[in-house]
Subunit: 117 residues, 2 copies
């Protein structure tokens, strides 16, 4: 899946001649950006990102995540999937377990999209 984070800043390039206001975010760009914010719009997903970020090894085993959040493994797995699809987490399977790490620069990119609305 293409990451919703692979976005261009809002510009006037490649727009039709008759857009009502070419300097503002167009519908498709807004839709892509909203997907990332939707992934962040859940307290448990924010906590998962925080736990992964705080890990001394830079990654967290899926086996260690349900405990701190007091959630079931399937619920945690669902939230992790949303974060991976949004381009915020990287998933690596090793043996029995999957390990999750932050996609380098991804949170900075989200922050940058706020500056280019």
């Amino acid at each position: 899946m293409t990451s919703p984070l692979t976005l261009e800043p809002a510009t006037t390039a490649d727009r039709g001649c008759c857009a009502p206001d070419a300097a503002t975010l167009d519908a498709e760009d807004a839709k892509q950006r909203a997907l990332v914010f939707k992934a962040l719009a859940d307290p448990n997903r924010l906590r998962l990102l925080s736990i992964v970020k705080a890990s001394s090894t830079g990654e967290a085993c899926v086996c260690d995540l349900p405990g701190p959040l007091e959630l079931s493994q399937p619920t945690v797995s669902h939230h992790l999937k949303v974060l991976v699809e949004a381009g915020l987490l990287h998933r690596e399977k090793r043996g029995t377990w999957a390990y999750f790490s932050l996609v380098p620069g991804a949170l900075d990119e989200v922050a940058a999209t706020l500056a280019t609305l």
Copy 2:
């Protein structure tokens, strides 16, 4: 309403002695932060912020917003209310119409919350 943006960075201060990982976002802080991302998790709300931001006067009349978004006035008013409650837009009534401007620094604060997960 207290703005969800009035948040402290995640720290180890004022936490119980037995938190599973005191360095990560706690449940209440995560809940407050998620509210702001929920406000941003909609393409039309992102476009409204973009239009207000691009305005040469620094504000936009509610009367001018349904057109560019091809939405009804009640729908636009709903989205604007969500953005005001999230602490992202300021609303000022003058005569017949309400005018909306960005809350100074609000988008920067959201960006900063990403750096302090």
